[in-house]
Amino acid sequence: MRIEVKDLRFSYGGTKKRKTEKYALDGVSLTIEEGEFFGIIGQTGSGKSTFVQHLNGLIPLKEGMGEIKVGNYDLSDKRVNLKELRSKVGMVFQYPEYQLFAETVEEDVAFGVKNFFPEKSAEEIKDVVKTAIELVGLDYPALKDKSPFELSGGQKRRVAIAGVIASRPEVLVLDEPAAGLDPQGKKDFLELLERLHKDFVRTVVIVSHDMDLVAEYCDGAAVFKDGKIIKRGTTEEVFADRECIFKSGLDLPVVEYLKEKLAEKGEKIACGTKISEFLDAVTQRWGGKT
């Protein structure tokens, strides 16, 4: 599903018309194509979370405050089927493990599926849940009857994500999903995301503070600052605009620094922002010699 947002404005202050009214989103326009792995970056408080919560109607779109279209769903239409939309746009919040509640892992993962597809039989639901749990790399028979609260932090997070993808969303939105994970946990998690994007959810939108993550996995990215998008392009284009990156309090991914250092020594390496591409380019240049 294609995501198309036009001139979106939003203020937490309600509808009061005051001159000093501060917009959390102040005229945001952004199109994310189907199939993209899209990154949203920006300082804390720049409006990233507010923006993504509009995409599945968690924050309702007010009249005259812009347009949002997700696939065929027009969110400015009052009659839009929010439940259906939310089954198609899965959302993983920061620290998703805090949303676990059921007695067993299986039940918790089934929660969304049961809500979205009440007509599904118990057998079907079991199937879907099993697939989701296995997809996030957990051992289904061993964990399904355990309480989610007995699991380790990393496992909890996987269960929470399984609970979101079990209803087979076409778009997966993740708001700072890697926060608080240890390096290995983070690596595993990112591999999981890539696997999901490859053969399960078409479009992935990720909000992150981790420039290396965005550089490595995202095709396109947008930079938020004070409720506005000040840069939108491919990941390479975004990180090429140094002024914009530093002005908005962000940093460059490691690859960009490496390229810069090499450039200082007179060695221009032309490649993207992915570590693998960089390594390939370097190997090609020096033929594997160090």
Binding site: Y12, N56, K83, R86, G90, Q99, L100, F111, N115, G163
Partner: protein, 270 residues
Amino acid sequence: MRDVSFGQYYPSFSAVHKLNPAIKILLSIAYIVAVFLVQPFYFLGFLACFTYIVLVTAVAKLPFFRVIKSIRAILFFVVLSAVIQVFVNKTGSPLWEGGFIYTGGLISAAYIVLRISMIVLGASLLTLTTSPVELADGIEFLLYPLKLIKFPVHEFALIMSIALRFIPTLLDETDRIIKAQKARGADFESKNLFKRAKAMIPVLIPLLISSFRRADELADAMDSRCYSGSKNRTKYKKLTFGWGDLIAALFTAGLIVGVVFLNGVYGVTV
């Protein structure tokens, strides 16, 4: 969720904000007593109370609409009591020939509405000009005599201020969890009451768990700072009494005298 402004403190640097919170609580009680002293249908007493509110609001540099807005929270209650009075109170004469509304009903409705409104205005002045922490300090001070009967005053005040401190945090947390479950298709708007109650389970359980987690963390943080209860504990902010407190007390005493005086001046009779 943040609209539920509990305590609704309105920070500013005014003489009223700087008053000793214990005194402020006592004076608020005195003010409420003054409101109750207004004899039925001697409306001038309410005028005195209202003048008092307006003056305090001005000195406290509060926007007047913020003070008035506090009535909105109990508007339903006020309207209900007024309606009951109008329909039930059959004293005085009917408003029109054979009518069911009596002058007595109308006048006592007005009296009740004014009484409740005045009390709420006074209470909201207290919470608008006193931060929750100061309030807890003030209550701790006022409860001090209870120490004699071994009532754990300090602990009680601590529990109160922690509770107050965490209300906004818990509201935020509730908001987040509700959003997360909504994203998983939870339906909180169902017309069916039973369904709606059931929908709260996926919110309440994570909320409870995170409260316990927070409580643990807070206990650890307090332990690591060697907190050990009230024994030998000094205060960062000592409650002091100044000229302002004296003036405020005199001013409030003046209100009470004024109300008592006005009680004999002009009353509406039915």
